[in-house]
Symmetry: C2
Subunit: 381 residues, 2 copies
């Protein structure tokens, strides 16, 4: 089947771009000399994970236990769930470990550490738990100097059915940076915070084997990773318009787009309507924070995925995307019934509206628009 035959809206994944992105990150992280534990919260796909772990040690990161269960079912065992665990989910975590997962959890809370220590745990083995460190984002996490940090590590290290596994941090404030120097500075803040926390723990006589850092911008622009053992970028696999604005991936490296059909013209208002609206693109407006606001996405040629100059989705209703441009729209090139592709603002949000990727390969012959595979996604909780 060709792209042109797909019902719209549809999620398109260009395998050629994906493979270049995953290979580039694997090489970048090898050059840094740390492990790459790709974050699968964006792709939520075993097929994508296959490319992301290729050439690396095989571990992944997830954002829900539902994802952990999905990836375990697809043969990936070394999994870190990088969102603070709540006590009610420990039974599910124990069951995953009993099924063979080498699962790592995180917490930033001394009470939760005690709840983990008090839980009967998996049949064999133990809960492996990392302490989440706040390295400056001020989301979740304990600061490296906090008393809670040693409390958490001590509680877990002393527990029969738990094991203190190290520290983990996420410098999400790198997303507020606009220059490579600023991102490098946040990456250093991240490294220094995680390493300082690890040193305090080790200084208290508790082994701290893992020091885990890394958003896509931090990994791309870090200048020193001394003391770090692994990094966990995720969005680099696909890229998106926000990442293009940060400079981590170029627009022609974005591997995901939404195929849409032109369904109406508003010639008097210089508007074209496509059948990809708020549900198909998401309501994310990440690029509103950039100099180059892409609205709800950039409109591209359906065959080549090259942006049509100036065209963007300016507003959305549930099933309507309203396209505008810098000048008069090329109505004759976009007749009702014709197709376009839309590059997403924030791919994690856009991809979540779909159960599957329609995979093409732009390096293949015939224009590279043949749908060569359908790759499933694991959504929900």
């Amino acid at each position: 089947m060709d792209l042109d035959d797909l019902p719209t809206p549809a999620l398109i994944l260009d395998r050629a771009r994906l493979a270049r992105n995953t290979q580039a990150m694997t090489e970048r992280v090898k050059a840094l000399g740390v492990g790459l534990r790709p974050h699968m919260k964006t792709a939520k796909s075993a097929d994508v994970a296959g490319l992301a772990v290729d050439g690396n040690f095989g571990g992944i990161t997830v954002s829900t236990l539902n994802e952990a269960e999905y990836f375990l079912g697809h043969g990936i065992t070394d999994i870190t769930n990088a969102v603070c665990i709540v006590p009610a989910k420990l039974d599910q975590a124990a069951a995953l470990i009993d099924r063979g997962a080498d699962l790592k959890l995180i917490t930033d809370n001394a009470g939760v550490a005690k709840a983990i220590a008090a839980h009967p745990g998996p049949r064999d083995g133990a809960f492996k738990v990392l302490a989440e460190i706040d390295c400056g984002e001020h989301r979740t996490g304990v600061v490296p100097e906090s008393a809670d940090l040693l409390d958490i590590a001590g509680t877990l290290a002393a527990a029969a059915k738990a094991e203190f596994a190290g520290v983990l941090t996420h410098a999400g404030h790198s997303y507020a940076c606009r220059t490579e120097d600023d991102m490098a500075a946040v990456a250093e803040e991240e490294r220094a915070g995680a390493v300082r926390a690890a040193e305090r723990i080790a200084g208290a006589g508790i082994p701290c084997p893992t020091v885990s850092t890394g958003s896509t911008p931090c990994v791309m622009f870090a200048r020193d990773v001394t003391g770090v053992t692994e990094v966990r970028p995720g969005v680099y696999m696909f890229g998106d318009l926000f990442q293009a604005g940060l400079g981590t991936r170029a627009i022609d490296e974005i591997a995901i787009s939404v195929l849409a059909t032109v369904m109406a013209h508003g010639r008097d208002r210089n508007q074209v309507y496509i059948d990809a609206g708020g549900l198909a693109l998401s309501k994310d407006r990440a690029t509103a924070a950039l100099d180059d606001d892409c609205g709800y996405g950039l409109v591209c040629d359906a065959q080549t995925a090259e942006p049509i100059p100036g065209l963007r989705v300016a507003s959305v209703h549930q099933e309507h995307g309203q396209v505008t441009g810098d000048g008069p729209l090329p109505f004759d090139d976009l007749p009702v019934g014709s197709k376009v592709r839309v590059l997403p603002n924030h791919v994690c949000m856009t991809a979540a509206a779909y159960d599957a990727y329609n995979v093409i390969d732009s390096d293949e012959g015939g224009g590279g628009t043949e749908v060569i595979a359908t790759w499933g996604r694991c959504n929900g909780w």
Copy 2:
């Protein structure tokens, strides 16, 4: 199972509130003296549709052919797909008619009308098509005075396998109103535009049996519906914070909430983190346009769904919701592991992240927090 035992995040539907909302709208529309064709794009659930059509003529509105197929599979046949059809979807539409759907399509384009007329059509019967009218929203639709309107009606009326079924309009600009008088004025604009279009068509000798109008605000505040045959509100079934701001549903009538677990405390920053983030709540920020900006949702008691004064989800990451308040947060009442419910900004977007509703009934005994049913949803395209 009780609410407290549900894995989080989870979508909660209060059947008592839903039933009151659907009954109130049925009575309102009966008082207006028109038909109620509830729009199922919000709920996408056959169980909800059962309540919405109860006491009405049985027809529904949908926003995708995928929804039409789902509802047909659940025994509802009278279905209007109120988004402009594109030619590539006519085969699917014909197949639905062949399976028994009394399906109505819409278009605002003379070229699409010709494509419909040229299509082989369903085996028996014909495509029933309404012309979409722009009554002032300036999204899709032809203006009542346009030459295209008569062209579309004439093309369809003359076709062997199509039937011109009437006019349909949506006054989405009612969402920009902030007073009942303003909403009543938009409702009158909507009515007048649709009726004017129908009169022009009838004046050209083409029957125009259906005159379809109606967003939730327009139906709630319309003062005259002369000439209208049916209305298509949808979000009234559930309500949300934006609708509460408009005054169409009160906060204690909102039937949908997201159950979430407190996963971390940021006491030094006066923040609580819940496990419902951008995916679980959506990135919709509709209430940003209101005086009372609710962020990404209002935080409520998990048992009663009563708002905890001042608490809202101020920002979201993929799986993190960051809760703030007007004053110091009640940390001791919200320990890590405790549950809250979050009322959504825009329920159409929030509900779309879930495959199913966990149904409770707040009128039942025992606090009304027992999960009495699971109702499926039809997502995707």
